[in-house]
Amino acid sequence: MNEIAELLQKDARLTPEDIASMLNKTVAEVRDKIRQMEDDGTIVKYCAIINEEKLTKQKDKVVAFIEIQVQPEREKGFDALAERIYQFPQVTSLYLMSGRYDLLAVVEGDNLKDVAFFVSDKLSTLDNVKSTTTHFLLKKYKENGTMLYKQSKLERLNVAL
């Protein structure tokens, strides 16, 4: 990965000025490179990683990981069906997997019933979906390389020669 993307992936709030000075580049160079990556889809978007358990919410959201076995279609493989699935706003992530099932969908709903309804009504009724297995998420420990529960701050001496 290029170094600018690497830095932004760790901290999207770094300014072009910061990055330029860290990498011995000019600010214009960094701005251009960022714009180019935004244009060509290398940088998809900027967002915050939220530990949702810390949000005060009206009601708990439910997240499920759904294993989907499918019948691939001639000439289109898995892609056509995948598109039909990921267009649903309830599906927050979708991956094609090796192993005992084919697609792994991450589905969010307001409650259990919501997700169950989505699976039984929308997902399993799609042509070429052979079976589904639904796992409900209980707790997130780490997401996108970030530990959601920070260990207590480490004590360092203020002075060490």
């Binding site: 910061d18 203020n158 002075v159 060490a160």
Partner: protein, 380 residues
């Protein structure tokens, strides 16, 4: 009749003890005074040590250290710095600190002189004095000591030259050509070299050149290195000496009686770092390099002028713009802006007029510290 050893008693306490106590007790400050990485030892290293403890590896090791670790260390030195030692020529020590003490006590006699380029890390002078020798400081306004500077200090009592590059506190290193000239002087005057290369791995634009790699030097160089800085392992206290057989034959006596061996847990941690830790080490190094770049530019912008450091994680800017002494600067900055830096005079000859800044801290805090230093300078 005193109750204490004369040499210890006569050794002055650090002149700015009061300042350090103030910093140590301070809460809610940004400290640029820490001489260690801001990374925790990588997980795979810590995890390997859990495993070694589960296996019950809690015994002494040989005085020399684990053979496997000595072998890996010899291989590492050859791969990274092109210096060849046999595994038998490596002695594992309790940090480089113990190694410095052992090296000095092994070669020094009462009244010998130690040629010490300053400003430098603070342990060499007192340890040389404890060994009965006299430290002779040499300095260069550019902080890059030359062979000429060193030769001018040579007397019939000179016994050893201490080199410590990349340098704490300056971050500078010495070019290969100059190192070779210094090697020539050591040969000409029959001097030892103690080369503390703890920051060797953290050399940014060029390759680190060890004086042990200079032709004909292996029998006079006592090469010291360790795991604290590059592998983020300060608290494990693990270093090593690579040197000639005859030197080690003497040196091991001190280590055997004073330390017995380095802790076995730390030795397993070091082994893991050498075997599987190079990738993470390179990542950490890259992150220091980025912050070095930032800091070099930022300090010059606010009038704390400095040449670009070449290694370690320190920068040693001039504070001339403040018209203050380094102690006044550090104290004022701490009191008015809650930022701690180390006054340059602590590091000996040539250090006055500068402060040492360690940039191995969180980037946001680093930026904030620069803003506060700028405010401090403007307020004067």
């Amino acid at each position: 009749m005193s109750r204490f050893n004369n040499r210890i008693e006569q050794m002055p306490p650090s002149g700015i003890r009061k300042f350090f106590d103030l910093v140590l007790d301070a809460k809610d400050i940004i400290s640029l005074g820490v001489g260690e990485p801001d990374f925790v030892t990588p997980w795979h290293v810590r995890e390997r040590v859990f495993f070694s403890l589960e296996q019950g590896r809690t015994s002494y090791t040989s005085n020399w250290g684990l053979m496997e670790l000595r072998r890996e260390t010899a291989k590492y030195l050859k791969d990274r710095f092109a210096v060849s030692y046999d595994a038998e020529q490596i002695m594992i020590t309790v940090g480089v600190s113990e190694a410095v003490d052992i090296a000095l006590r092994t070669i020094l006699n009462e009244g010998d002189e130690v040629i010490l380029p300053e400003p430098t890390y603070v342990c060499y002078r007192p340890l040389a004095e404890l060994a009965g020798a006299k430290a002779v400081a040499v300095s260069n306004p550019s902080f890059k000591i030359t062979a000429d500077d060193i030769e001018k200090a040579v007397t019939p009592r000179s016994r050893v030259i201490i080199l410590s590059y990349p340098s704490n506190p300056t971050g500078y290193t010495i070019a290969r050509a100059e190192i070779e000239k210094i090697a020539e002087i050591a040969r000409k005057h029959d001097l030892w070299i103690i080369s503390d290369e703890i920051y060797a791995e953290l050399t940014y634009e060029k390759e680190h050149y060890s004086i042990a790699a200079a032709p004909g030097m292996k029998d006079r160089v006592i090469l010291l290195n360790g795991f604290s800085k590059a592998f983020a392992m300060t608290g494990w206290r693990l270093g090593y000496i690579a040197a000639s057989d005859d030197f080690l034959e003497q040196a091991v006596k001190i280590h055997q009686y004073a330390a017995l061996c380095a802790p076995i847990m730390a030795q397993y941690a070091a082994l893991e770092s050498l075997q599987r830790g190079m990738g993470e080490m390179e990542e950490m190094k890259k992150s220091y390099w980025r912050r070095r770049n930032y800091m070099f530019e930022a300090l010059n912008k606010i009038g704390m002028t400095v040449e670009r450091p070449e290694g370690a994680f320190y920068i040693f800017p001039s504070i001339e713009c403040s018209k203050l002494s380094s102690e006044e600067f550090a104290l004022g900055l701490l009191e008015k802006q809650r930022v701690a830096v180390i006054p340059g005079n602590v590091f000996g000859l040539g250090g006055e007029g500068r402060v040492r800044i360690c940039y191995a801290i969180d980037f946001e805090l680093l930026k904030e510290s620069v803003a506060r230093m700028e405010r401090f300078i403007k307020s004067l």
